[in-house]
Amino acid sequence: MPLSFEKPIDDLEARIRDMQSYAEEQQVDMGEEVALLENRLATLTRDTFANLSRWQRVQVARAPGRPTAVDYLEGVLDEFTELHGDRTLGDDPAVVGGLARLGDHSVVVIAQQKGRDTKENIHRNFGMAHPSGYRKAIRLFDLADKFALPVLTFIDTPGAYPGIAAEEQGQAWVIAESIQRMSRLGVAAVSVVIGEGGSGGALAIGVANRVLMLENAVYSVISPESCAAIRWRDAGAAPQAAEALRLTAPDLLEQGVIDEIVAEPIGGAHKDPAGAVANVKAAVSSAFEGLRGLDRAALLTQRRQRFRKLGRFTEAA
């Protein structure tokens, strides 16, 4: 199902398909007409996506059919081998971890996984991790340090799960610990925000040397809906809240929160998952390449300073 602003694109695509099947059935050459419409389609798609409002980007970031973390694990990495469990509480399906090869190097990967359909969404708790998920991340950070393996994380979560058990098991404590543990990695770490970067639950695996973000992903301190409910006392004000929060990739690049925007295929990653995966693979490989010369101490210092200097204020005279 297309997003509401994709309707004209979708309609045009349908017209092209109709024309092609008509031409085939009737054995007539409509190549010129089709080419004309395809040209129009490309322009329309480019224009639509070049002018997305922030709220529309939120919808793209959450679009059904958008590649999920597992799609990137399969497409970007070789020999992905999943490792389960947090060694304390259980195994949280919202966080997928494991070992893999990226080019010529072994890496530890940690990813937040939403579902690709309703059934998987329920199994993955819509990508909302419990404390167990963060504990899994923490123990994988330990593993990475011990074997001096670079760490790659994929961020895609509405936020850490707000529930009774999650609170009792110290959701806040494990997020804080995960932030701290990741900041202390003696190996190169790269994070990619692929969909939704929902608040502290996202940052918990986002304390990397290089933070990349897909063009239509969003990363925010609070969801537009919750922000609207609190600040406007009206969840219907989510579009205004999305504007106010400045949560798109260009916004965050400008604020220094991310280091690089990874382009999506025209029409968004959901239109061309393979294209999105290829772009992420290239960007991740070059991000690690750029960190290759740094030793343990330099990586630690670079990462610490990167986050230490974030913020905007003025010094009083």
């Binding site: 850490a160 707000p162 529930g163 009774i164 999650a166 609170e167 009792e168 098991q169 110290g170 959701q171 806040a172 404590w173 997020i175 804080a176 610990e177 932030i179 701290q180 900041s183 202390r184 608040s199 502290g200 940052l203 918990a204 304390v207 990363y219 925010s220 301190v221 609070i222 919750s226 922000c227 609190i230 600040r231 406007w232 006392r233 205004q240 809240a241 106010a244 929060l245 400045r246 949560l247 916004d251 965050l252 604020q255 929160v257 610490r304 986050f307 230490r308 200097k309 974030l310 913020g311 905007r312 204020f313 003025t314 010094e315 009083a316």
Partner: protein, 304 residues
């Protein structure tokens, strides 16, 4: 009907919010009528039931540091509205109004002092200032205080009180969680203690960063301490929450806090922690000390 509802809305609510001159308050716990002066003189504890009311920052600093030793560090950096955030009112205007009222630039006070003779740096968050929310200035003050404490060989004591990250500052407020966390490394490297006191309320991004990363983490009695607030959880699971859920005593039982410490004993206990962690002998007399506040003569309290 409408009139009846109007009358119901007029019933007195708790506390002195919005009316600093309010002379009489109602204890939210035991419902006793309390004379405001009694509450202030009693470390903001209910004279009847010891309920721990929220404490203003200056009173908290005075309570925790030895007389005449506190030297303020904070206040030299100012918040900016870099997103030009506007909801029902511009953030810049909200900020200006609360700065004027609080007479400080943002929701925190930091500084150096002595705590029963122990050299400490303290940071106290101000819940009355935009819900104690953490934006760039609060994060930077916390980070600078940690780093300066390390330079000056001081233990770091932080009293949190916050609704979480300041959403009007967008993703940069979220990043303060990472910033405050990495700033604590300065203390870790010098083996200086960081002790966090979670006061009512401590929630969201503050709980999920520096506040729970103290070497020791303690709560004040009855304080709400959580990641997601009770209302959010209730909306998510659509069930009633257990009695005492997310309060200090509950979290102590769940293993999340080192202890829950009554306010009268807080200063002495913090000083003891610092001494023990730094391997110094404990001065028994001082360790037993309570903040000397006589229970005030009650001015007609509970009569009403």
């Amino acid at each position: 009907m409408a009139l009846e509802r109007w009358f119901r809305r007029q019933r007195p609510t708790r506390g002195d919010e919005g009316s600093p001159a309010g002379l009489w308050l109602k204890c939210p716990s035991c419902h006793a009528q309390i004379y405001r002066k009694d509450l202030v003189a009693n470390l903001y504890l209910c004279p009847e039931c010891d309920h721990h009311e929220r404490m203003p920052v200056d009173a908290r600093v005075a309570m925790l540091t030895d007389d005449g030793t506190f030297e303020r560090w904070s206040g030299h950096i100012l918040p900016v509205d870099s997103l030009e955030f506007v909801d029902t009112e511009p953030y810049a205007e909200r900020l200006a109004a609360v700065q004027k009222k609080a007479e400080r630039p943002d929701a925190i006070v930091t500084g150096a002092g002595e705590m029963l003779g122990e050299r400490v740096a303290v940071a106290v968050m101000d819940f009355s200032f935009l819900g104690g929310s953490m934006g760039s200035v609060v994060g930077e003050e916390l980070a600078r205080a940690a780093e300066r404490a390390a330079e000056e060989e001081r233990a770091y004591v932080v009293v949190s009180a916050s609704g979480g990250a300041r959403m009007q500052e967008g993703a940069l407020s979220l990043m303060q969680m990472a910033k405050t966390t990495v700033a604590l490394e300065a203390l870790t490297e010098r083996r200086l203690p960081c002790i966090t006191v979670l006061s009512d309320p401590t929630t969201g991004g503050v709980t999920a960063s520096f506040a729970t990363l103290g070497d020791l983490v303690v709560g004040e009695p009855g304080a709400l301490i959580c990641f997601a607030g009770p209302r959010v959880i209730q909306q998510t699971i659509k069930q009633d929450l257990p009695e005492g859920f997310q309060r200090s005593e509950f979290l102590l039982r769940k293993g999340m806090l080192d202890d829950v410490i009554p306010r009268r004993e807080l200063k002495a206990r913090l000083a003891t922690y610092v001494r023990l962690l730094r391997g110094a002998p404990v001065d028994r007399e001082r360790a037993a000390e309570r903040v000397k506040v006589e229970k005030p003569e009650l001015s007609r309290a509970a009569v009403l």
